[in-house]
């Protein structure tokens, strides 16, 4: 067998519940004026990243599967993010 044991369906339901809660929080954040400005942006990005990570790690089994897969995916992801950040910065910051 190529990969380690899968999580159980119970685990999947739990993750889904967490995802639902985070989504609710995401919708709530812009309503709370105390978070306006930079905190809101950071919060939303953080919450989104949490959801992203949860789906990738558990639903896509990346936590349990071969490290090769994780590396292939992360190279794409963490390659794309800085490149496009720099692209956008050239239009605005410098």
């Amino acid at each position: 067998m190529a990969e380690r044991a899968h999580p159980t369906p119970g685990m999947y339901w739990l993750i889904a519940a967490v995802l639902a809660v985070i989504t609710a929080a995401e919708i709530a954040v812009p309503q709370i004026s105390a978070f306006d400005g930079a905190p809101r942006v950071l919060l939303l990005i953080g919450l989104g990243a949490l959801k992203f990570g949860a789906v990738v790690a558990f639903f896509m089994h990346l936590r349990f599967d071969k490290p090769l897969y994780r590396n292939l995916f992360l190279v794409g992801l963490f390659g794309a993010i800085p490149i496009f950040t720099v692209v956008l910065l050239t239009f605005t910051a410098f």
Partner: protein
Amino acid sequence: MAGAPLAEHAPAAGHDEGHHDVRPVRKTAMWVFLGSECVFFGAMISTFLLYRSNTNGGIGSEIFDIPFTSASSFVLLMSSLTMVLAHGAYYGGDLRQARVWLAATALLGTTFLAGQIFEFSEFIHQGLTLTSSPFGSAFYMLTGFHGAHVAVGVLLLGSMFLLSLGGRLYDDRGLNVELVGLYWHFVDIVWIVIFTVVYLLQQP
């Protein structure tokens, strides 16, 4: 003899007579493809960010209906759950249950698409089109390409479902379902990003 250094362990794969375990082979390719898709969507998301306020004097992000989009985002998020349950069922050998979850996933995906079609027609009605501003172009391209990915996923899920009726999916321990699942979850996480970046962050 110095000329023949021997190290006796082989790399993980590739043992006997060309009968490779297709599992890692195909999953490797799928993950490479998903890595590549990150760049694909990254380019569109950056375009959107660049043009997020380039409304050419017309409609901008104030048009978004956050409650509605939140609902459809939630639908897509939950389809990831049904997808992973389908795969789990296949893996555990419960073909019947797996079929149910597959159908559920396809259904949720279709619901999401329907929501998107509704949203698009609503926006176009209000005057935000592909040709109204760079903002419009970028918005429709990004969400449209995502929608196309969902549509392809629904098509794949439908084929899986039909094949599973003939029991043809079982012998590889649900590898095909797993691969389609990876694709489906990826489409979901892209939407997680889009929902944050395009909808939530653009709120006034």
